[in-house]
Amino acid sequence: MKKLVALGLSALVASTLMAKDIKVGILQPLTGPIASFGQKTLDGIKLIHSKYNTLPNGDKIKLVVVDNQFDKIQTVNGYKRLVSDDNVVAVEGPLASSMSLAVKRFANDTKTPTVTQIATNPRVTAGTKYITRACFTDPFQGKVAATYALKHGLKKAVVVFDMKQDYSVGLAKAFMKAYKKGGGKIEKVLFINTGDKDFNAQVAQIKRLHPQFIYTPIYAPEEGLFLRQLRAAGVKAPVMGGDGIADPALLKKLAGSAANGVMYTDHFDAIKPPTPLSAEFIKEFKAKYHRLPSAFAATGADGYLLIYNAIKKCDTPANSNNLSQFKQCVANAIRHTKHLEAVTGYLTINPKTGNPIDKPAVIEKIVNGKTQFVELVRP
């Protein structure tokens, strides 16, 4: 009997030693205005997690999913909960630059490695060792849009941005800088607020100015009603946005036929898989969810892969008993990622800036509520 107990105990000890759970926090907007972005991201994360959840030594990665509701207070509360209650090793999220900036201080204070997979504002990763992104930044995205417009002879533009969103403010600035440098003329800069529904004042001004091009680095809920009112007023100039409007289904729902012809810059198009892993991911995603993965799903998967890869390097017996040491190691490993095969391409992080090097952008166009690939732009 004694022997049996001892055997049982040792088996228990051995099993706990052998297979330990490592928690990774997922902080995304699963409800709220941009819930569809968060849900798509989570689909991508779950799929890639089902493929890569076990480390070589048998440890398992467990996801702790928290909804931030696209609200700064909920974001900070959720982040604190993940770090101090759930003791996660790393956090993926939050999506959206304004939310990532809200947790920046806490990431620094608690030294928690954080991968904000799709926050494009440059300030998010500046001056911190703990936040890293898995996507391109707004200066590049703005330049892609400006170059595209100028290449097509559209030299008089109006910019409409959302003054409550860091993403929108930053992207508008980046676009204007590149556009002016390329010889374009900014006729007028107009602003809106998150949650606005009446854009007639802005539309009336745009109508009077007759611009050749309208750049709208805002989010999809506002973009939908803006487009509807813009086209109803008879303005026919081409409209382009950033990755914040990359929700063709919502745009179609809110704008109807006015969504036709709208273009946006995005991170990934499923018809152009850049890596073998990417092709495999698209195939499995289609089998599981019966649709093609969006850029949100793809970058969601990439963010997870960055964390997974770093944990794989750092999951040593010495580290697993010391959470803060483990976290420090993971943070370093994420920043020193080199040529990691991911869904949107090969990821190499610049250790100083926390930005991936060499991430291309795609330009997409909405035709009858579906996206159409226009072109791929490399930096």
Binding site: L30, G32, A35, I192, D198, A201, Q205, G224, L250, L254
Partner: protein, 313 residues
């Protein structure tokens, strides 16, 4: 800037203003009887818009094409009934227990904010679980967006209907208040709730009636708002509710006519200021509240300012 443009702005302003007015009446009525700023009232308007949307969904099999007038007004009717019930439920479940225990007014105010969060979160869950997303497009018969051309003016039918409807509803509410027995009871209750109770009047019924009436008007306002800006979400009531509250205060809280006048003024300011000074377009929300401060500076009790201790409505 021609006459046509000015007229167009005035018409648009009155149209938006009448939506605020419909919601503001609810604030004023409840304030009249309970001295309570019902901060959940903006969300009651959201409940009105969502229940109309859900009713339309059921009636059209979630296809929303070719909505006939009959189907649409059935949905509006269902929405008014559902929203009134929700309004009564908020009173019965949240405010009445506190009132019965003699809780201070500030507790009621906090409870109202709690109800507001509850309704927002509830409809957030409903929208995400069953409707497929936080944001929904609001559908209605095409006839409402038919455009009438008068000279250089382009006026959608909806823009004319809403103010007319609001004036009719205002007359209806005034009729109820001054010509019916319930109305007399409401005014008596507003005058002195304790004496009315002593006289044996059923104060619960009367307050319930006030909540139902205010909620029904909020539902109509919410549906009109969703037709003008056809995108609904669980948080739509927050800002609109605040503006309607500002309208009620500008008009003189406690006065139904004042609420309608305040609504018109606020809607007009919000449309006209960006219309005449388009550069200020992004600041339009600020104007509603700057206007509120100015009116209160010169008329602390609002435009239809009434001496609170002597007269109601």
């Amino acid at each position: 800037m021609d006459v046509g443009f000015v007229l167009q702005q005035i018409i648009n302003g009155f149209s938006l203003g009448s939506m605020y007015a419909l919601i503001a009446i609810g604030y004023t009525l409840v304030y009249g009887v309970l001295r309570l700023i019902n901060f959940a009232h903006g969300d009651i308007m959201m409940v009105g818009a969502f229940s109309a949307f859900i009713a339309l969904g059921f009636l059209t099999g979630w296809k929303f094409n070719h909505i006939s007038m009959f189907v649409f007004f059935t949905a509006v009717g269902i929405s008014i009934i559902v929203t009134s019930i929700v309004g009564i439920l908020t009173y019965v479940s949240a405010y009445k227990p506190l009132l019965d225990k003699g809780a201070p007014k500030i507790s009621l105010l906090i409870t109202a904010i709690g109800i507001s969060f509850f309704l927002e979160s509830l409809f957030n869950v409903i929208a995400n679980q069953y409707l497929g997303g936080t944001y929904q497009a609001f559908y209605f018969p095409k006839w409402f967006s038919t455009i009438i051309h008068v000279g250089s003016l382009t006026i959608p039918v909806l823009t004319i209907i809403v103010p007319i409807l609001t004036i009719l509803i205002l007359l209806g509410v005034l009729f109820i208040l001054y010509k019916t027995k319930v109305g007399i009871a409401i005014r008596a209750l507003a005058f002195d709730i304790y004496t009315v109770k002593l006289m044996g009047a059923n104060s619960n019924f009367i307050i319930g009636f006030v909540f139902a009436l205010g909620s029904a008007l909020a539902a109509i306002g919410g549906i009109a708002y969703s037709m003008a800006y056809p995108s609904i979400d669980p948080y739509m009531g927050m800002l609109v509710g605040l503006k309607a509250f500002a309208a009620a205060v500008v008009g003189g809280i406690g006065s139904v006519t004042g609420a309608v006048i305040g609504g018109f003024i606020l809607g007009f300011a919000e449309i006209a200021i960006p219309g005449f000074f388009p550069e200020l377009g992004g600041w339009k929300d600020a104007f509603a509240f700057i206007l509120l401060i100015f009116v209160l500076l010169f008329r602390p009790t609002g435009i239809m300012g009434i001496d609170f201790e002597r007269q109601r409505f």
